[in-house]
Symmetry: C2
Subunit: 188 residues, 2 copies
């Protein structure tokens, strides 16, 4: 019998971030995270494959949101506007949560293995977005380039968002960055 | 006294790629690479920090070429055209060498740790390009976005180049991809 623990995932994440911030990512064990959360190690591994995954458990949700964003764009929507819809969909997940995003980013920035994992996740996201664009009839290299451009906008806006926690929300920053990318591409 | 070995770096890389292709990246030791190249392990470590670095020894050259490409663009050049100059400069390093690039890409694609290392190198390259654009007076987020767009063009064109070894050269593919990115950003 598995005992149901209310919000176990959230409690484990909260405990992990606290411990990583206090003592550094390498120094913290899964057993300590579970203990701080008032849960067992076994429960931890029901939710996360390893210590690093605590940082990336949201990436599946992000992926689903962005892919649905593209899919929901009306047929004939120019690829860049389909990607804009994906970015708007991503924004709904983050807006209002800059404090936790900022804490997470600070830990990732300090650890090469977490930065690498994040880049792999983003590269996978770009590949998935290119795939749904192709399924909508966008040819290559346009599909791949539009997807990569979307991820570039996401990355640049996300960095600014977490760097300026009292600034605009992520959705607004992504819209501004996409507009800026269009201007840059037009040679301005 | 260090004995001078003619083209030691090239011989080690050649030996490493042969062994990785024959037996897989994980199965090959530095001692075996050195032996195949007719050199010592000690010589290997004069050129490469570890086994993975064999794949990335060109990244410093690439970085220098691209940064110089941006720096050589006349003042007032639009940022995207400065990045185009960087891509042209990068092309001079690769054009005519598709066979070895293809072999290298196949090995990297098969190993998560090599893919991660490659993504980190490209992210560092994007950050460096953004830095030289800023030094030319380009503000953010335009500087970061233009740099990321340039790396996206490089990645997408590079993949196509190694996938179609009898196709156009990398420089030509990068120019086509940049044109495509401009068209996409214009909503076409």
């Amino acid at each position: 019998m598995v005992r149901w623990e209310p919000n176990a995932r959230g409690r484990l994440q909260q405990a992990a971030f606290e411990l990583f911030t206090e003592r550094g990512f390498e120094q913290v064990t899964v057993a300590e995270i579970a203990e701080r959360a008032g849960l067992t190690e076994r429960t931890f591994f029901r939710y996360f494959a390893d210590k690093r995954e605590v940082f990336f458990s949201g990436s599946e949700v992000l992926r689903e949101l962005m892919l649905s964003g593209v899919a929901s764009a009306p047929p004939g929507t120019p690829p860049i506007e389909a990607i804009a819809a994906a970015l708007d969909a991503a924004g709904t997940m983050f807006d209002g949560h800059v404090a936790s995003a900022r804490r997470r980013s600070a830990i990732i920035a300090a650890h090469a293995e977490l930065r690498e994992r994040e880049l792999i996740k983003l590269a996978g996201l770009a590949a998935a977005l290119a795939g749904v664009l192709r399924a909508r009839g966008v040819s290559d290299p346009a599909a791949a380039l539009t997807a990569e451009a979307g991820i570039a906008v996401f990355k640049v806006a996300f960095e600014r968002w977490t760097a300026e926690p009292d600034g605009p929300e992520l959705t607004q920053l992504m819209r501004a960055a996409l507009g800026e990318l269009k201007a840059v591409a037009a040679g301005r």
